[in-house]
Symmetry: C2
Amino acid sequence: MPYGTLYGIGLGPGDPELITLKGLRILQQSRVIAYPISRQGDESVALSILERITSLVGKEKIELLFPMSAAEPAALKIAWEEASRKIAAHLEQGKDVAFITLGDVVLYSTFIYLFEVMREGYQHLKVEFVPGISSVSASAATASLPLGKGRERLAILPAPFDQAQLKKSLEDFDTVVLLKVSQVFDQVYELLKRMNLLDKAILCQRIGLEGERIIHDLSTLVGSKVDYMSILMVKK
Amino acid sequence: MPYGTLYGIGLGPGDPELITLKGLRILQQSRVIAYPISRQGDESVALSILERITSLVGKEKIELLFPMSAAEPAALKIAWEEASRKIAAHLEQGKDVAFITLGDVVLYSTFIYLFEVMREGYQHLKVEFVPGISSVSASAATASLPLGKGRERLAILPAPFDQAQLKKSLEDFDTVVLLKVSQVFDQVYELLKRMNLLDKAILCQRIGLEGERIIHDLSTLVGSKVDYMSILMVKK
């Protein structure tokens, strides 16, 4: 019996309509659905979106616990190895496994860590990336703010940002996209103010999810708690 | 009668399965399909992909000529204004118009130019971006080369590249994606060689299209004609 394939599937930003036909087909064909949670007892956002897209009746589900904290890399490594063992067992029984993740699977997804562990320990098993709409692309589309045209240069930076590096990117690039900006919003705001870029910046919050908002006047956010699912875009 | 909406729809990289459910639904609902060609008598790649996705029976088609050459910006401006007039006439008759483009509509698409002209001259008409899978994302997925994880930084640069700027980006960023690299491949190859980055680079050619190829040994391409639809990825 041939082995199954592990698919990493980008579900898109949260709007169930933003999955691709390919992602949907593979999810419907796969016998096992794997999804990450970051804390025991938590609900998986990816799974709740998937349930709005397609029926999961008759599927096996594998819940995989990945603590998000980078504080304990050893514990995280053990979690990934445990997850890859569970998945490999299903693949070796000839079942395809679809691992679901929000956004695009090649861009800052949980799946990338799993892929790396699988590549090391399970070379005999096939792993495939199925691209999805990233939160970056969905945010730009919702805000009608193109990321780049012609010869424009685009930088994508995840927080936390080194201030000097961030300043350099804001100088060198036409468009700068800042991911996970919530943790450091106030500092970024001050930098943009100093660089006279506030009127070139917007914050896209929870795009594709409940509570979606585009904020043009960033001063209204200073001192408040910025949503974790926020992307800041600066287009000169 | 309410005006129609102009939708800019990213079809994805060429694989008909990589369109989103939303893009497909809007294409099926729209009465008018608009598409760009770069030379009189040319076939539209976007249109030929669309024909594999869905039936166009009963749709009105608008072919829009946009010379790709940046040599004559005045002629190009006239072409965009002519296109926006045609499209506005349909929208004002209450018909939705779907403008199709390869890849992601927010990332280096033809639609961005049209959007800008519409925003200037036709503020009363609604324009919406519908995101698609970019050739960058599809290339990374096909090559199993994630674009970034954790705190990694990503730069996307379209050719032609200023050599000093390119060197700086290759130093500062974890992943650098070079678009339209065919025109300047040999110079880029020399720079990567000098920077000792050749074994970190791959070339993705015609991803999602006929002739799709991933090339790991870039030396095999030196001196040859590199396909226009090529993306070079450097991941340190």
